[in-house]
Amino acid sequence: MTEESPEIDAPKADAAAAHTLQAEPIADMPLLRIEGVGKKFGNFRAVDRLSLDIRAGEFFALLGPSGCGKTTLLRMLAGFETPDEGRILLGGKDIAQVPPHLRPVNMMFQNYALFPHLSVRDNIAFGLKRAGMAREKIATRVAEMVALVKLDGMEKRKPDQLSGGQKQRVALARSLARRPQVLLLDEPLAALDKKLRESTQLELMDLQRRLGMTFIIVTHDQEEAMTVANRIGVMDAGRLEQVATPRDLYEAPRSRWVAEFIGDVNLFDGEVGWREHNRLLVTTKDGVTLAVAEPRQTVTKSTVTVAIRPEKVKLSRRAPVSDAANTHAINRLEGVVTDVGYLGGLTVYKVKLDSGAVIRSSMANTARLDMDAYLVGQRVVAWFTPDDCMVLEQ
């Protein structure tokens, strides 16, 4: 064996040779374009005329609650479901009606779907044999894959003789062996325990970067999606609610639904009052006026929801002293601590405001011996800046 190195060349060479692209691919054409794709099961609209572009080399996550259609969408990309409408363009070619065994994409299955009667080596070689690859080339590629997922010495084992983590690696190696143009991952880490899942997420990211491949992962675990993906598509009821980077999704959600789905959030419904110094003044239902930063897109409605992430809400015994010019710059809400949840790194407080509303605040426990912890029943001021507030139109 000459090639001991786990490095494998980027799939571009293979893909370009194997795939008949148009003579001159359009420069900004995405690798994968989903165009108005819809799928119904009986009367249930699983995917509702969805459009999405995914660029080559992206690690894209489809995130959503169960039944949101993310798995159906992935299965349509793999070819296990045929869309009722719309097009799926891979490298400019519509593959919506192409059967799965003829598509240059591969999938890593949720429960791995390893062939129980085949050894690790034969599982990995399965797709290569179907592609009619020469025997020696298969052996070399399998060895590369085994090294890539660190399964050396396990080649002869059957899936039953592997741990959950090892099975996951075999499944990954098997789906990568054919160097697909797009790798689809269906809840690939759901069966692993938390520790292993976290380390595997990092390995997956590293692998994707090294191979320069396009990965599309389906997950219901938002932390997982935030960790691994460059971009996340949040799905609900067969539609994409928002497609954004993890940071934008968290700090600039487009709708109340996304804000609530991703992470924890305090929500206050209110009426837009007046504007001053790029600030909107919103009067909540409980009669509190909040100063919020005017969002990038102009607010057209008079009724909005102000959303503040709990870690942006700070607590103090007294309101922070602010200079006169900035009097309106900080929102100060007084109240009483009603609940303290100690989580180790964080402590989550619930504060019942004098207005009657409840606000949650999470504070990092940055000092080991914290004299500043707040107790239930204590009067506090919850404060946050206008920039910490997100304005959502309903």
Binding site: F80, H101, L102, F109, R130, A131
Partner: protein, 304 residues
């Protein structure tokens, strides 16, 4: 007395119950048959000697033991009647099992692929014939296969044949009867294995470039082999010893071992030779059982 020993006792009983059953209804009767196979025929009641009588003491038992011999087994080997009926039994059983597999596999496969709610109904349909006695169903086949029976009437009406075909008392009739009777025993274990098959494996195969046909041969079929083995054994073993179907449907030209046994036992009243034939049959069936056991172990054991 600890709680553990109170509960341990019935548990232990439950554990030995199957062995008790085997000893009482298999090993003890087999001991009788084995003993008779080593005896000689006699015009007596029962029709063989020696007899063991424990009341006559140790010396008598020793004398009886001395009288036992392997003569009957020597006869089995030397007389072509027995050898040819063994061979015919094995041949009929192999052929029937092959036909059963060819017919049963697609049926079981189709059942396993039905929508979940239809599967119990399909299963019922396979089992329903058992509501009628086996013997009655074979007699019904005599009716269907006879000269002016249903089969010939249909064939004539469809102009497939110009004159009635002789079905009854032929090997074809026997094979029809055997395949008909044993089909459920082939279908049920096959169905049980195929229904358990994870559909995701087929998706994985097609995802990795296998056409539906390749996916079947590379994934479905190898994974259904335990069912194939179980179904084949479940059919092969009783067919080897089959008596009623060949006796009622096949011609009188050549006999299966079950028929030879019957002849020796009831017509010739030669219990010792009949017993020897039965013991030999049992020995004949051990190799396929061991083979199956080994194959299954290999399936389960993996590479180690």
């Amino acid at each position: 007395m600890s709680a553990r020993s109170i509960f341990a006792r019935p548990a232990r009983l439950a554990a030995i119950a199957p062995y008790l059953w085997m000893v009482l209804f298999f090993l003890v009767p087999f001991g009788f048959v084995l003993k008779i196979s080593l005896s000689q025929t006699a015009i007596a009641q029962p029709p063989y000697v020696p007899l063991f009588d424990v009341t006559e003491g140790w010396a008598a038992i020793k004398a009886a033991l001395a009288e036992l011999s392997l003569d009957n087994f020597k006869l089995l080997v030397s007389d072509s009647l027995y050898i040819s009926s063994y061979l015919r039994s094995v041949f009929v059983a192999v052929t029937s099992t092959a036909i059963l597999l060819l017919i049963g596999y697609p049926i079981a496969y189709g059942m396993a692929r039905l929508p979940r709610r239809w599967q119990p109904i399909a299963m019922m349909l396979v089992i329903v014939p058992f509501w009628t006695s086996f013997l009655i169903r074979i007699y019904a086949w005599i009716n269907i296969l006879q000269h002016d029976g249903l089969l010939n009437k249909v064939l004539l009406a469809l102009h497939i044949v110009s004159a009635p075909v002789v079905w009854l008392s032929t090997d074809s009739a026997m094979y029809i009867g055997i395949v008909y009777s044993y089909l459920p025993f082939m279908i049920l274990p096959l169905y049980a294995t195929l229904a358990k098959l994870d559909f995701a494996l087929l998706e994985a195969a097609s995802d990795l470039g296998a056409s539906p046909g390749r996916a079947f041969w590379l994934v479905t079929f190898p994974l259904s082999l335990p069912g194939v083995g179980a179904g084949a054994l479940l059919c092969f073993i009783p067919i080897v010893g089959e008596f009623v179907i060949p006796d009622l449907l096949a011609g009188s030209g050549s006999m299966m071992i079950g028929q030879t046994l019957w002849l020796e036992f009831f017509t010739n009243k030669d219990w010792p030779v009949a017993s020897a034939a039965a013991v030999a049959l049992l020995l004949l069936l051990i190799p396929p059982l061991l083979l199956y056991d080994r194959l299954q172990r290999r399936q389960l054991g993996g590479a180690s």
